[in-house]
Protein backbone atom coordinates (compact mmCIF):
# COMPACT_ATOMS: atom_id res chain seq x y z
CA UNK A 1 0.00 0.00 0.00
CA UNK A 2 2.66 2.40 0.97
CA UNK A 3 4.52 1.63 -2.20
CA UNK A 4 1.42 2.23 -4.23
CA UNK A 5 0.91 5.54 -2.52
CA UNK A 6 4.42 6.63 -3.21
CA UNK A 7 4.07 5.69 -6.82
CA UNK A 8 0.89 7.67 -7.15
CA UNK A 9 2.42 10.63 -5.48
CA UNK A 10 5.31 10.36 -7.82
CA UNK A 11 3.01 10.23 -10.82
CA UNK A 12 1.50 13.46 -9.64
CA UNK A 13 4.89 14.99 -9.36
CA UNK A 14 5.69 13.75 -12.81
CA UNK A 15 2.87 15.79 -14.16
CA UNK A 16 4.40 18.84 -12.60
CA UNK A 17 7.97 18.17 -13.45
CA UNK A 18 9.63 15.40 -15.36
CA UNK A 19 12.46 13.42 -13.98
CA UNK A 20 10.92 12.13 -10.82
CA UNK A 21 12.56 8.98 -9.59
CA UNK A 22 10.15 6.30 -8.58
CA UNK A 23 12.81 4.11 -7.13
CA UNK A 24 12.34 2.48 -3.79
CA UNK A 25 15.48 0.47 -3.77
CA UNK A 26 18.42 2.59 -4.65
CA UNK A 27 19.77 1.68 -8.06
CA UNK A 28 23.49 1.37 -8.57
CA UNK A 29 25.18 4.70 -9.11
CA UNK A 30 25.84 4.07 -12.77
CA UNK A 31 22.21 3.23 -13.57
CA UNK A 32 20.51 5.77 -15.81
CA UNK A 33 17.60 7.62 -14.35
CA UNK A 34 14.07 6.70 -15.34
CA UNK A 35 13.20 8.04 -18.74
CA UNK A 36 9.65 9.33 -19.06
CA UNK A 37 8.10 8.36 -22.37
CA UNK A 38 4.97 9.89 -23.73
CA UNK A 39 2.30 7.34 -24.58
CA UNK A 40 1.87 6.79 -28.30
CA UNK A 41 -1.91 6.62 -28.23
CA UNK A 42 -3.72 9.90 -28.36
CA UNK A 43 -5.34 10.28 -24.98
CA UNK A 44 -7.41 12.98 -23.46
CA UNK A 45 -4.99 13.13 -20.59
CA UNK A 46 -1.49 12.22 -21.63
CA UNK A 47 0.07 9.77 -19.27
CA UNK A 48 3.75 9.59 -18.75
CA UNK A 49 5.16 6.12 -18.90
CA UNK A 50 8.13 5.43 -16.70
CA UNK A 51 10.77 2.80 -17.18
CA UNK A 52 12.24 1.99 -13.81
CA UNK A 53 15.84 0.85 -14.27
CA UNK A 54 15.37 -1.55 -11.39
CA UNK A 55 12.73 -3.46 -13.34
CA UNK A 56 14.81 -3.55 -16.53
CA UNK A 57 17.83 -4.69 -14.55
CA UNK A 58 15.81 -7.47 -12.98
CA UNK A 59 14.67 -8.58 -16.43
CA UNK A 60 18.25 -8.53 -17.70
CA UNK A 61 19.49 -10.43 -14.71
CA UNK A 62 16.85 -13.08 -15.23
CA UNK A 63 17.57 -13.28 -18.96
CA UNK A 64 21.30 -13.56 -18.38
CA UNK A 65 20.72 -16.29 -15.87
CA UNK A 66 18.42 -18.21 -18.22
CA UNK A 67 21.19 -18.07 -20.80
CA UNK A 68 23.61 -19.80 -18.45
CA UNK A 69 21.35 -22.84 -18.21
CA UNK A 70 22.43 -25.69 -20.44
CA UNK A 71 19.67 -28.08 -19.51
CA UNK A 72 16.41 -27.43 -17.77
CA UNK A 73 12.88 -28.63 -17.50
CA UNK A 74 10.06 -26.31 -16.61
CA UNK A 75 6.56 -27.47 -15.80
CA UNK A 76 3.84 -24.95 -16.09
CA UNK A 77 0.19 -24.59 -15.23
CA UNK A 78 -1.36 -22.38 -17.87
CA UNK A 79 -4.63 -20.52 -18.16
CA UNK A 80 -5.84 -18.53 -21.11
CA UNK A 81 -8.94 -16.47 -21.76
CA UNK A 82 -11.27 -17.64 -24.51
CA UNK A 83 -14.72 -16.54 -25.46
CA UNK A 84 -18.03 -18.29 -25.70
CA UNK A 85 -20.15 -17.55 -28.71
CA UNK A 86 -22.07 -15.12 -26.56
CA UNK A 87 -18.89 -13.18 -26.01
CA UNK A 88 -18.63 -14.30 -22.40
CA UNK A 89 -15.04 -14.76 -21.30
CA UNK A 90 -13.92 -18.09 -19.93
CA UNK A 91 -10.56 -19.48 -18.86
CA UNK A 92 -9.14 -22.63 -20.34
CA UNK A 93 -6.43 -24.37 -18.34
CA UNK A 94 -3.55 -26.50 -19.44
CA UNK A 95 -0.27 -28.10 -18.48
CA UNK A 96 3.10 -27.84 -20.12
CA UNK A 97 6.46 -29.38 -19.60
CA UNK A 98 9.28 -27.88 -21.61
CA UNK A 99 12.57 -29.76 -21.46
CA UNK A 100 15.47 -28.11 -23.20
CA UNK A 101 19.06 -29.00 -23.76
CA UNK A 102 20.73 -25.99 -25.27
CA UNK A 103 21.33 -25.22 -28.00
CA UNK A 104 19.50 -27.79 -30.08
CA UNK A 105 17.28 -30.17 -28.19
CA UNK A 106 13.74 -29.58 -27.07
CA UNK A 107 10.78 -31.60 -25.91
CA UNK A 108 7.42 -30.21 -24.97
CA UNK A 109 4.45 -31.95 -23.45
CA UNK A 110 1.38 -29.83 -23.90
CA UNK A 111 -2.14 -30.36 -22.69
CA UNK A 112 -4.97 -27.90 -23.02
CA UNK A 113 -8.06 -29.05 -21.18
CA UNK A 114 -11.48 -28.35 -22.68
CA UNK A 115 -9.80 -28.19 -26.07
CA UNK A 116 -8.77 -31.80 -25.80
CA UNK A 117 -5.23 -30.99 -26.84
CA UNK A 118 -2.69 -33.55 -25.73
CA UNK A 119 0.47 -33.47 -27.74
CA UNK A 120 4.24 -33.59 -27.78
CA UNK A 121 6.82 -31.54 -29.62
CA UNK A 122 10.15 -33.11 -30.48
CA UNK A 123 13.28 -31.40 -31.70
CA UNK A 124 16.71 -32.98 -31.92
CA UNK A 125 18.63 -30.38 -33.87
CA UNK A 126 17.59 -31.90 -37.20
CA UNK A 127 13.89 -32.58 -37.22
CA UNK A 128 10.91 -30.97 -35.56
CA UNK A 129 7.79 -33.04 -35.00
CA UNK A 130 4.42 -32.52 -33.39
CA UNK A 131 2.63 -35.68 -32.34
CA UNK A 132 -0.92 -35.89 -31.01
CA UNK A 133 -1.11 -38.41 -28.19
CA UNK A 134 -4.80 -39.00 -28.80
CA UNK A 135 -5.34 -38.54 -32.52
CA UNK A 136 -1.92 -40.07 -33.28
CA UNK A 137 -1.29 -37.63 -36.11
CA UNK A 138 2.24 -36.42 -36.51
CA UNK A 139 3.92 -34.01 -38.84
CA UNK A 140 7.65 -33.46 -39.20
CA UNK A 141 9.78 -30.84 -40.83
CA UNK A 142 13.51 -30.50 -41.29
CA UNK A 143 14.57 -28.07 -38.61
CA UNK A 144 17.27 -25.45 -38.23
CA UNK A 145 20.19 -26.11 -35.95
CA UNK A 146 19.23 -24.17 -32.84
CA UNK A 147 16.15 -23.80 -30.68
CA UNK A 148 16.17 -20.07 -31.24
CA UNK A 149 16.09 -20.47 -35.03
CA UNK A 150 13.47 -23.16 -34.72
CA UNK A 151 11.19 -20.77 -32.85
CA UNK A 152 11.42 -18.29 -35.70
CA UNK A 153 10.84 -20.83 -38.47
CA UNK A 154 8.00 -22.50 -36.62
CA UNK A 155 6.30 -19.17 -36.13
CA UNK A 156 6.93 -17.57 -39.48
CA UNK A 157 6.49 -20.49 -41.80
CA UNK A 158 4.14 -22.79 -39.92
CA UNK A 159 2.35 -20.50 -37.52
CA UNK A 160 3.36 -22.64 -34.59
CA UNK A 161 3.67 -20.83 -31.32
CA UNK A 162 6.15 -22.66 -29.20
CA UNK A 163 4.96 -22.68 -25.62
CA UNK A 164 7.05 -20.52 -23.29
CA UNK A 165 9.16 -19.33 -26.20
CA UNK A 166 10.02 -16.20 -24.21
CA UNK A 167 12.35 -18.30 -22.06
CA UNK A 168 14.68 -18.62 -25.05
CA UNK A 169 14.45 -15.00 -26.07
CA UNK A 170 14.90 -13.06 -22.87
CA UNK A 171 18.49 -12.05 -22.42
CA UNK A 172 19.41 -13.16 -25.93
CA UNK A 173 21.48 -11.36 -28.50
CA UNK A 174 18.45 -9.72 -29.98
CA UNK A 175 17.54 -6.88 -27.65
CA UNK A 176 14.17 -6.27 -29.21
CA UNK A 177 12.62 -7.60 -26.04
CA UNK A 178 13.92 -4.61 -24.12
CA UNK A 179 13.45 -2.15 -26.94
CA UNK A 180 9.74 -2.89 -27.01
CA UNK A 181 9.19 -2.04 -23.37
CA UNK A 182 7.45 1.31 -22.94
CA UNK A 183 7.04 1.18 -19.18
CA UNK A 184 8.46 -0.98 -16.43
CA UNK A 185 7.92 -0.95 -12.71
CA UNK A 186 8.53 -2.89 -9.57
CA UNK A 187 5.29 -3.83 -7.84
CA UNK A 188 6.31 -5.65 -4.67
CA UNK A 189 7.25 -8.98 -3.18
CA UNK A 190 5.05 -12.00 -3.61
CA UNK A 191 4.93 -15.76 -3.16
CA UNK A 192 4.47 -18.10 -6.10
CA UNK A 193 3.94 -21.70 -5.02
CA UNK A 194 5.79 -20.87 -1.84
CA UNK A 195 8.75 -19.31 -3.62
CA UNK A 196 9.55 -15.74 -2.66
CA UNK A 197 9.46 -13.54 -5.75
CA UNK A 198 9.76 -9.96 -6.91
CA UNK A 199 6.81 -8.86 -8.96
CA UNK A 200 7.37 -6.56 -11.94
CA UNK A 201 4.98 -5.00 -14.43
CA UNK A 202 5.84 -4.11 -18.01
CA UNK A 203 3.96 -2.31 -20.70
CA UNK A 204 4.47 -2.81 -24.42
CA UNK A 205 2.45 -1.32 -27.25
CA UNK A 206 0.34 -4.42 -27.69
CA UNK A 207 0.55 -6.22 -24.35
CA UNK A 208 0.87 -5.52 -20.68
CA UNK A 209 2.83 -8.22 -18.94
CA UNK A 210 3.94 -9.17 -15.48
CA UNK A 211 6.77 -11.27 -14.23
CA UNK A 212 7.37 -12.83 -10.88
CA UNK A 213 11.09 -13.47 -10.56
CA UNK A 214 12.53 -15.71 -7.89
CA UNK A 215 14.29 -13.73 -5.20
CA UNK A 216 17.47 -15.73 -5.00
CA UNK A 217 20.77 -16.51 -6.62
CA UNK A 218 18.77 -18.33 -9.29
CA UNK A 219 16.51 -15.55 -10.58
CA UNK A 220 14.08 -17.73 -12.51
CA UNK A 221 10.73 -16.57 -13.84
CA UNK A 222 8.10 -18.20 -11.65
CA UNK A 223 5.00 -16.64 -13.09
CA UNK A 224 4.15 -14.78 -16.27
CA UNK A 225 0.92 -12.96 -17.00
CA UNK A 226 0.26 -11.44 -20.42
CA UNK A 227 -2.68 -9.14 -20.98
CA UNK A 228 -3.37 -8.54 -24.65
CA UNK A 229 -4.46 -4.95 -24.43
CA UNK A 230 -4.82 -4.54 -28.18
CA UNK A 231 -7.74 -6.95 -28.12
CA UNK A 232 -11.14 -5.58 -27.25
CA UNK A 233 -11.58 -7.53 -24.03
CA UNK A 234 -7.94 -7.61 -22.99
CA UNK A 235 -7.70 -11.39 -22.67
CA UNK A 236 -5.06 -12.82 -20.38
CA UNK A 237 -2.63 -15.67 -20.38
CA UNK A 238 -1.15 -16.99 -17.16
CA UNK A 239 1.76 -19.36 -16.76
CA UNK A 240 2.99 -20.54 -13.37
CA UNK A 241 6.33 -22.26 -13.62
CA UNK A 242 8.09 -24.95 -11.66
CA UNK A 243 11.75 -25.48 -12.48
CA UNK A 244 14.01 -28.50 -12.55
CA UNK A 245 17.58 -27.55 -13.36
CA UNK A 246 18.88 -31.10 -13.52
CA UNK A 247 16.29 -33.09 -15.43
CA UNK A 248 16.96 -36.55 -16.76
CA UNK A 249 17.09 -36.53 -20.52
CA UNK A 250 17.71 -39.11 -23.20
CA UNK A 251 17.55 -39.27 -26.97
CA UNK A 252 14.01 -40.64 -27.00
CA UNK A 253 12.88 -37.40 -25.44
CA UNK A 254 14.10 -35.32 -28.36
CA UNK A 255 13.98 -37.66 -31.36
CA UNK A 256 10.57 -38.74 -32.51
CA UNK A 257 10.15 -42.32 -33.62
CA UNK A 258 6.64 -42.97 -34.92
CA UNK A 259 4.71 -45.86 -33.47
CA UNK A 260 3.11 -48.31 -35.83
CA UNK A 261 -0.31 -46.79 -35.39
CA UNK A 262 0.82 -43.18 -35.89
CA UNK A 263 -0.37 -41.35 -39.00
CA UNK A 264 1.87 -39.00 -40.86
CA UNK A 265 0.31 -35.76 -42.09
CA UNK A 266 1.70 -32.40 -43.17
CA UNK A 267 2.03 -28.98 -41.64
CA UNK A 268 0.11 -26.21 -43.33
CA UNK A 269 2.55 -23.62 -44.64
CA UNK A 270 1.58 -20.04 -43.93
CA UNK A 271 4.72 -18.18 -45.00
CA UNK A 272 4.25 -14.97 -43.14
CA UNK A 273 6.14 -12.38 -45.05
CA UNK A 274 9.09 -11.03 -43.15
CA UNK A 275 9.64 -8.14 -45.48
CA UNK A 276 11.21 -5.03 -44.15
CA UNK A 277 8.35 -2.70 -44.78
CA UNK A 278 5.59 -3.73 -42.48
Amino acid sequence: MQHQFKRNACTLMLMLATGCSTQQAKPPANTPQPVPVVAAEPATVQTKLVIEPEAINALKRMGNYLHTLKTFSVSSQTSVDKELESGQKIMVDGELTVTAQLPNRLHIDRKVFDDDIDQQFFYDGKTFTIYGNKNKFYASIPAPSTIRELLAVAWERYDIKMPLSDLFIWGGDNHDDEANILAASYIGTSLVNGVSCDHYAFHNADVDWQLWIEKSETPLPRKLVITTTEEHKSPQYISIMDWNLSPKTNNELFTFVPHKDAHKIEFMVVEKSTGNGK
Binding site: E85, Q88, F137, E156, T228, F267
Partner: protein, 162 residues
Protein backbone atom coordinates in the same frame (compact mmCIF):
# COMPACT_ATOMS: atom_id res chain seq x y z
CA UNK B 1 0.58 -3.21 -37.60
CA UNK B 2 -1.24 -5.99 -35.84
CA UNK B 3 -4.34 -3.93 -35.59
CA UNK B 4 -4.66 -3.85 -39.32
CA UNK B 5 -5.19 -7.50 -39.56
CA UNK B 6 -7.19 -8.31 -36.57
CA UNK B 7 -9.91 -9.69 -38.60
CA UNK B 8 -11.35 -12.23 -36.57
CA UNK B 9 -10.22 -15.43 -35.55
CA UNK B 10 -11.20 -18.34 -37.18
CA UNK B 11 -13.86 -19.96 -36.88
CA UNK B 12 -15.62 -22.95 -37.43
CA UNK B 13 -18.61 -22.98 -39.60
CA UNK B 14 -21.19 -25.58 -39.85
CA UNK B 15 -22.57 -25.12 -43.25
CA UNK B 16 -25.88 -26.79 -43.47
CA UNK B 17 -27.38 -25.38 -46.54
CA UNK B 18 -26.30 -25.55 -50.05
CA UNK B 19 -23.79 -23.17 -51.42
CA UNK B 20 -25.17 -20.92 -54.05
CA UNK B 21 -22.55 -19.84 -56.46
CA UNK B 22 -22.78 -16.45 -57.97
CA UNK B 23 -24.52 -14.40 -55.33
CA UNK B 24 -23.43 -10.84 -55.35
CA UNK B 25 -22.08 -10.24 -51.88
CA UNK B 26 -19.27 -12.07 -50.22
CA UNK B 27 -19.95 -12.43 -46.57
CA UNK B 28 -17.76 -10.18 -44.52
CA UNK B 29 -15.34 -12.23 -42.51
CA UNK B 30 -16.42 -10.77 -39.25
CA UNK B 31 -20.01 -11.57 -39.87
CA UNK B 32 -19.09 -15.12 -40.57
CA UNK B 33 -16.89 -15.18 -37.55
CA UNK B 34 -19.59 -14.12 -35.20
CA UNK B 35 -22.19 -16.32 -36.72
CA UNK B 36 -19.90 -19.29 -36.73
CA UNK B 37 -19.58 -19.33 -33.02
CA UNK B 38 -16.57 -20.03 -30.97
CA UNK B 39 -13.89 -17.52 -30.87
CA UNK B 40 -10.54 -17.33 -29.43
CA UNK B 41 -10.17 -14.43 -27.10
CA UNK B 42 -7.02 -13.48 -28.99
CA UNK B 43 -4.86 -13.76 -25.91
CA UNK B 44 -1.17 -13.65 -26.70
CA UNK B 45 0.85 -16.36 -25.05
CA UNK B 46 4.24 -14.83 -25.53
CA UNK B 47 5.71 -11.40 -24.98
CA UNK B 48 8.43 -11.51 -27.58
CA UNK B 49 8.04 -12.42 -31.18
CA UNK B 50 10.18 -15.40 -32.04
CA UNK B 51 10.69 -14.17 -35.54
CA UNK B 52 11.06 -10.95 -37.37
CA UNK B 53 9.39 -8.18 -35.46
CA UNK B 54 7.88 -6.82 -38.66
CA UNK B 55 5.88 -9.81 -39.52
CA UNK B 56 3.30 -9.20 -42.14
CA UNK B 57 0.37 -11.03 -40.77
CA UNK B 58 -1.32 -11.76 -44.04
CA UNK B 59 -1.58 -15.47 -44.00
CA UNK B 60 -1.71 -17.49 -47.15
CA UNK B 61 -2.85 -20.97 -46.61
CA UNK B 62 -2.34 -23.78 -49.01
CA UNK B 63 -5.98 -24.71 -48.82
CA UNK B 64 -6.37 -23.24 -52.27
CA UNK B 65 -9.48 -21.23 -51.64
CA UNK B 66 -10.86 -19.00 -54.32
CA UNK B 67 -12.20 -16.17 -52.29
CA UNK B 68 -13.61 -14.30 -55.23
CA UNK B 69 -16.40 -16.70 -55.80
CA UNK B 70 -19.37 -15.58 -53.86
CA UNK B 71 -21.40 -17.92 -51.82
CA UNK B 72 -24.47 -17.89 -49.72
CA UNK B 73 -23.55 -19.67 -46.57
CA UNK B 74 -26.07 -20.81 -44.07
CA UNK B 75 -24.53 -20.99 -40.67
CA UNK B 76 -25.90 -23.62 -38.40
CA UNK B 77 -26.35 -22.04 -35.02
CA UNK B 78 -27.58 -25.15 -33.35
CA UNK B 79 -24.35 -26.96 -32.86
CA UNK B 80 -23.42 -25.51 -29.52
CA UNK B 81 -22.10 -27.85 -26.96
CA UNK B 82 -21.01 -27.01 -23.46
CA UNK B 83 -22.59 -23.61 -23.46
CA UNK B 84 -21.20 -22.53 -26.75
CA UNK B 85 -17.66 -23.60 -26.14
CA UNK B 86 -16.56 -26.04 -28.72
CA UNK B 87 -13.08 -27.01 -27.97
CA UNK B 88 -10.39 -28.03 -30.27
CA UNK B 89 -10.50 -25.51 -33.01
CA UNK B 90 -9.68 -21.92 -32.86
CA UNK B 91 -7.24 -19.62 -34.44
CA UNK B 92 -5.46 -16.52 -33.46
CA UNK B 93 -5.73 -12.99 -34.52
CA UNK B 94 -3.55 -13.22 -37.53
CA UNK B 95 -5.69 -15.73 -39.29
CA UNK B 96 -8.37 -15.07 -41.74
CA UNK B 97 -11.51 -17.04 -42.15
CA UNK B 98 -10.85 -19.15 -45.14
CA UNK B 99 -13.68 -21.47 -44.35
CA UNK B 100 -16.32 -19.08 -45.48
CA UNK B 101 -17.44 -21.59 -48.01
CA UNK B 102 -16.31 -19.43 -50.83
CA UNK B 103 -15.00 -22.18 -52.97
CA UNK B 104 -15.93 -23.54 -56.28
CA UNK B 105 -16.32 -27.22 -55.86
CA UNK B 106 -18.87 -28.65 -53.50
CA UNK B 107 -17.99 -31.67 -51.45
CA UNK B 108 -20.24 -34.58 -50.92
CA UNK B 109 -21.40 -33.46 -47.50
CA UNK B 110 -22.39 -30.04 -48.75
CA UNK B 111 -19.14 -28.50 -47.56
CA UNK B 112 -17.10 -26.86 -50.22
CA UNK B 113 -13.94 -28.64 -51.15
CA UNK B 114 -11.17 -26.76 -49.47
CA UNK B 115 -13.26 -25.89 -46.42
CA UNK B 116 -11.30 -26.34 -43.26
CA UNK B 117 -13.02 -27.63 -40.15
CA UNK B 118 -11.99 -28.63 -36.66
CA UNK B 119 -11.92 -32.11 -35.19
CA UNK B 120 -15.13 -31.50 -33.28
CA UNK B 121 -16.93 -30.80 -36.53
CA UNK B 122 -16.14 -34.11 -38.14
CA UNK B 123 -19.17 -36.30 -38.58
CA UNK B 124 -19.37 -39.34 -36.30
CA UNK B 125 -17.99 -42.68 -37.38
CA UNK B 126 -14.92 -41.65 -39.28
CA UNK B 127 -11.96 -43.81 -39.92
CA UNK B 128 -8.46 -43.07 -41.03
CA UNK B 129 -7.70 -44.41 -44.46
CA UNK B 130 -4.38 -44.23 -46.22
CA UNK B 131 -4.53 -43.71 -49.96
CA UNK B 132 -1.26 -43.54 -51.84
CA UNK B 133 0.57 -42.83 -48.63
CA UNK B 134 -1.66 -39.93 -47.60
CA UNK B 135 -3.83 -40.14 -44.52
CA UNK B 136 -7.49 -39.23 -44.87
CA UNK B 137 -10.45 -39.24 -42.57
CA UNK B 138 -13.27 -40.99 -44.31
CA UNK B 139 -16.65 -40.30 -42.79
CA UNK B 140 -19.19 -42.16 -44.88
CA UNK B 141 -18.94 -40.70 -48.34
CA UNK B 142 -17.12 -37.59 -47.14
CA UNK B 143 -13.38 -37.33 -47.16
CA UNK B 144 -11.19 -34.98 -45.20
CA UNK B 145 -7.48 -34.49 -45.26
CA UNK B 146 -6.03 -33.79 -41.85
CA UNK B 147 -3.18 -31.34 -41.48
CA UNK B 148 -1.47 -29.42 -38.72
CA UNK B 149 -2.55 -25.81 -38.84
CA UNK B 150 -0.11 -24.35 -36.41
CA UNK B 151 -0.11 -26.92 -33.61
CA UNK B 152 -3.67 -28.03 -34.13
CA UNK B 153 -5.06 -30.62 -36.46
CA UNK B 154 -7.66 -29.32 -38.88
CA UNK B 155 -9.44 -31.13 -41.65
CA UNK B 156 -9.80 -29.94 -45.21
CA UNK B 157 -12.74 -31.20 -47.25
CA UNK B 158 -11.42 -33.04 -50.28
CA UNK B 159 -12.87 -34.95 -53.17
CA UNK B 160 -12.86 -38.68 -52.62
CA UNK B 161 -9.35 -39.83 -53.47
CA UNK B 162 -10.58 -43.14 -54.77
Amino acid sequence: MQKLNRSKQFIRLMITGSLVIGMSALLPEDAVARGGGFHDGGARTHVNSAGNMNINRNVNTNANINRNVNANVNVNRNVNVHGGYRGGYYYDDHHHGVSTGAAVAIGVAGLAVGTMIGASQLPPSCSIVSVNGISYQQCGSSWYQPQYSGSQVTYVVVNPPR
